[in-house]
Subunit: 345 residues, 4 copies
């Protein structure tokens, strides 16, 4: 059976290596190229020795890729770099799934305000489809350019969208308190990510101004039609993988613990990658997998709805979700190549 | 110079060993006894080898302590056990600093509701002084029975009390999202605290029903006079020591980032153990010390006040604060024996 | 295609849950039963929530298993318990792969000396085949009872066997310095494995008397024919999964760095699960996989040969190797269901 | 009472900040200056916020220090940089304690071979005293230039020196297998020390060629008079602080467990910072303290002597030992300012 041909641009970071891990064993796909400007010429297993025996690919330059080689390209590039690629290659020759933040907004205003940089390919912003399958599956099916969601937004939106959509909560006074493992900050060494500075430590960062704030708000609004306002506070967890997000919101109608839980069970019943629980979830129960585990409840005493959701930031928060989007676009079974059972303990 | 004589009841847990660590070098105190029913007869350094060469004390039974031996007794006992000791020994013979939750409420109702057990020494509940020096220093000075605060409440109350007291926030819609290291759960092995189950993991627990909820509410109310309501969510951090608490509240008057920060700087200016920062604090910057580091800010966009505070749960959250209370009662300089500089990295 | 039917006895520990993780997606196998005396009646996903959606099996009692239900049984039981099962069920009705230490020695003497307990099924000791495929593949093929190797021995034997077999080193003066993650010590909470006591810690344990000492010696001797003597020192690493073993030995003929490396490359060239490297390996490069990564070199200055090898103790050190043995016995491709790429980062 | 005046050159790394932590509360010393070329002009607490309230010092340039300001200078500089300072300032104007490797050898040959760089101040190499007080206390007393020992060598030499000196072991076939926390590699971010690459990981590094190899050999030889040969293998532990070293050697006379233990108890009986144990020590029992905990035993079966020793690499392995040397030179009680009880848990 002929396979789909894909390429990965930016193969040296964590997202890139995770894409290779997933696609190496994907039954319907072959990896045609992986690129890295700094590591070109090496084998991908020289850069990521854990991949040895699973893949055997020489890293090339993004300049050497041939458009007709592939059906789909994953962009595992930093924010601000992806848009150059899209501007140059367009969306006709192959499908693009961009894992950066460059195409997550439909207009340049919010992007330029929160990312602090000019958008050089704004004409593609409207065309791009936000790649959260549980909310936008139909649009993804025919997308030529997918903006793969941010890790924090994935965990927050999957927890909040049902509540807003179904009129359970007031959409303008939502607290999102998130905690993320360090791979979410990328593979580049920095003082704040130096092992002795993270080990045994914990802190909040980017208060009031984290770029995922408008992403959470915009996508909830796009999906639900309600104008949404979120106060988002990220924290750095001393672990490698995993995000856990706790949200607090106020009901706008009479609710109960049961009605809140029931909402989530019914909404996500048929989703392969969302598991609803009666108890608060744990990061380790989704490690290495594409699951999002969710718990929701209602506190009568203070009249608040609380959700707790968790994902592996490199899987459902990045590479796993990107492959899920690819499967949808190619018309494959959505879980193909993504049935990894979480690694616990 | 004659020294004060103190005893420690319950020396085998983390709080007990931390008390020994602090008092071993305290210039004005001698440890007259440490007790443990399970370890009696051993030397304290057999149970806690890290204390070798610093102390040399044979563990006795609580049954063998002589009331006239000591000026003050620390109770490092589980909830529900301390009250037996207080009932038996009263508060006349020596001062008692209880590190459990048994005497933190002024009446039995809340205690029995949240702790799920009957209080057998309710007559002492009203007499007990809540030992948070920054708020109740004057009462502590003459206390015969101190209820040493819980770890989570210490971190939350120090962050919220100024805001409520000075009319900055609405006291009935407060979110407290806390994250604690594992020593907060005690030294007793349990599946949920087994190393492989915590390592690389993170989760919320005791949602809606954690016992520190009413403690935070009651003490804020006692101190500020405002009826207070708090939604408190604890999470388990994969580290040994440290709590970081993030709070969200709504202003009830016009505020700004500056006015919020200024409030904290002025309130805590003269406090030895509260450090106010312009940036969000980190757990590791207070490790092993008695400091509480606090940051507060205001988000104009969503009209919320956010605080982030951090303590070492075994120090300012337990043993350190107990020694601070002892110093106040004995009329010593408050920081005596507590000037440990945080261990970072 | 009819599948092989297998059962797992002892499903609540780490080894049991890892077997379920591996077998749930194995294309040629169905899990007929999992047993646990303490958890019977529950679903396996109540005990191990990370398995939700991957399996759906009600836990039964070992007393309820029917011999003709299965082709093969995995015993994920503690040492001293497996032998009861084997004594009762024998080896005629189904094949048994025992993950305990009960059948790793060919006679009871060494077992009883090092395990400190009487062997009640010694007649099966001789019949049992030591399940290290890289050394004993032919015998495994026709085994009815496989003694699955210990985790430390797997890492040590794969590193030392080529050197002894091919006359590179003196087999009687070997140092094996091993470091293991905490899952190697099992799922049962104990003070020494309590999170705060392991976090930030590191120590040696069971010096001179660890049970894996005679296992390493016996199997090296069985394989090479040389009488072997090993000084084995295990250490407890503050991580969940992974063993890294460093060995030191003295050449008994002229060797060089190149000749030592070349030996390993040639010996393991065709092995699916042994990867030989030019640089020292890292635990994280094999996490979650069945690989053993090996490096070997020679120090001219001190005339010593050094090897460094690493495995995931729950995979190649336990469940993964057990499934590898099962594949061999069933005549399947040896890597079936075991092609997990290591989870790094 | 007039205090001694000291300066710290290189205050931004881990060793520099640890020196400040120790000296801030030292009763007989005032810190006259701390220097950093990259951070000059800032307060030391801007760079190391955990020191806030404990010190208040503006960082200056090394170019601005005045020789007559201080009695003693600590050099917390990288290898290869310290020698420039010593060459420029000499040893007449003030005492120098150098924490780099620049003056640990008595002649340039070994230094230049293992450090791969030319020594530009070789005339001071012979004058320098190796600052391991337990072995060279008398020479330290009158030293003008102290070469503070490396972290690994401190742990290894304290364990091996008694055995060689007293003729217990053959000094030419010693295995030193060490494991160190990440602070030992310094504060500078690098890929190999990036949090996600160390977390959950473990590996050996610098095999056969680590610079501490000749330091261990030379100092053992200087102290014992025996020509010594050591095979040293360092490993990177996923913790912040702490080294644990396991050594293996062969007796050269009849020994027993008791005679080996007795040797260590008698040798170190009067040492304040060496604690001898009957059981293998743990890193966490010395965290944050200046202790070296040692255990030694003999394995009759394989005829080997094993030692296990542990230190905090920033304390007894660097800053703590430097302060201990300073105390000796100033004629103070050796433990002044160094009585920190280990932080456990």
């Amino acid at each position: 059976m002929p396979k789909y041909r894909v390429g990965i641009v930016g193969a040296t970071g964590y997202t890139g290596s995770e894409l290779v891990r997933l696609l190496a064993h994907h039954p319907d796909v072959t990896i045609e190229f992986v690129t890295s400007e700094s590591q070109q010429g090496k084998n991908i297993t020289d850069v990521h020795p854990h991949l040895l025996d699973a893949v055997d690919i020489r890293i090339t330059s993004v300049k050497d890729i041939l458009a007709d080689e592939v059906d789909l390209v994953f962009l595992a590039l930093p924010h601000g770099v992806s848009m150059n690629f899209v501007k140059e290659h367009g969306t006709d020759k192959f499908i693009t799934i961009d894992l950066s933040g460059d195409f997550r907004f439909s207009s340049r205003g919010i992007y330029e305000e929160w990312y602090g940089t000019q958008h050089i390919a704004p004409s593609y912003m409207e065309e791009a489809v936000y790649g959260l399958p549980e909310l936008f599956r139909d649009k993804i099916r025919s997308a030529r350019l997918v903006a793969n969601p941010g890790c924090y937004p994935t965990s927050a939106i999957l927890a909040l969208a049902p509540l807003i959509k179904h009129g359970f909560i007031n959409p303008t006074s939502i607290i999102v308190d998130s905690k993320s493992g360090v791979t979410g900050a990328g593979a580049k060494p920095k003082p704040g990510l130096h092992f002795p500075n993270v080990f045994g430590n914990f802190s909040a960062y980017s208060l009031l101004r984290h770029r995922h704030t408008p992403e959470i708000e915009s996508m909830l609004q796009n999906y639900t039609g309600y104008s949404t306002e979120v106060l988002f506070t990220p924290h750095l967890l001393p672990i490698d993988r995993g995000i856990l997000t706790t949200t607090y919101s106020t009901p706008k109608k009479a609710v109960s613990k049961d009605s809140v839980q029931e909402l989530f069970y019914s909404i996500y019943e048929k989703e392969h990658f969302v598991r609803v629980f009666d108890d608060p979830p744990s990061v380790k129960n989704i490690r290495g997998s594409n699951y999002c585990d969710i718990f929701a409840t209602y506190d009568e005493r203070t009249n608040k709805i609380i959700t707790v959701s968790t994902i592996d930031n490199l899987m459902k928060g990045a590479a796993g979700q990107a492959v899920q989007n690819m499967n949808i676009i190619f018309g494959l079974i959505e879980a193909t190549g993504l049935r990894h059972i979480p690694l616990n303990p």
